[in-house]
Amino acid sequence: MDVILFLIFAIIAVVCGINVVVQTHPISSALSLIGVMGSLAVLYLLLGAEFIAMAQIIVYAGAIMVLFIFVIMLLNAGAESKKGRSFVAQLLGMPLLVAFLALVSYFIQRLFPATPLVQFGAFKSGTAQNIGRALFTQYLLPFEVTSILILIAILGAIVLARKELE
């Protein structure tokens, strides 16, 4: 059951991920990215990270991607043209990327030769209570710092988006 679920959602994630890259229209890319995020949320659930899975949907799929789609709709961005690509990039890009991937996979296999199998339900500490406790004790300072980061981001966005005051 775990294997089937993993395979289904891993394949969805990879197919949607490829789609993000190959689609010419930004809206199609954005929708594929939402697909990746949704299937990753399911994989998080399989790994016992229930809070992060839901945060993934709420924050990524529900807020960030809505912003992207909103901006794409607002700018009425069309499909991008194919011309103007560097010849070297087209020739070497894909082989280099595949080589990189093969290398990473090789190292991963070598580094973790005999880890126990990932089983759903074996790790149950990813609840909202545990995350909250860790956030407000051990990670209190980073947590507060992120709030300042968000405040700065809000201010930055307002400054950038407001009309010129002249």
Binding site: G48, I64, L117
Partner: protein, 102 residues
């Protein structure tokens, strides 16, 4: 066999990360480039969660949480910048946004 090896999750994460790099390098539309960055962040998050499972700790979850927060802040500012760029140059092609003066 009940359950998948941890390495599968990590390789999936690597695949998604490479796809993110590919999008980042090959695409011209500034919004798609931005989305590729989000894809890479997601791939990294998957690694964090997988390691967290392996070590039976929630620290990886916390990291993933902070990555999300940073991604949200980044999206807000980044999209505001994209809006401004589009307003000033009426193009979304990153190759045409290459001079400090327009």
């Amino acid at each position: 066999m009940n359950g998948v090896p941890l390495t599968w999750y990590l390789i999936l994460s690597a695949v998604l990360f490479s796809l993110g790099i590919a999008g980042f390098l090959f695409r011209k539309n500034i919004i798609t480039v931005f989305m590729s960055i989000e894809l890479m962040l997601n791939a990294v998050n998957l690694s964090f969660i997988a390691f967290s499972y392996q070590l039976k700790q929630v620290n990886g979850h916390i990291f993933a949480f902070f990555v999300m927060v940073v991604a949200a802040a980044e999206a807000a500012v980044g999209l505001a910048i994209i809006l401004t760029v589009f307003k000033n140059r009426s193009t979304l092609n990153i190759d045409e946004v290459n001079s400090m003066k327009n």
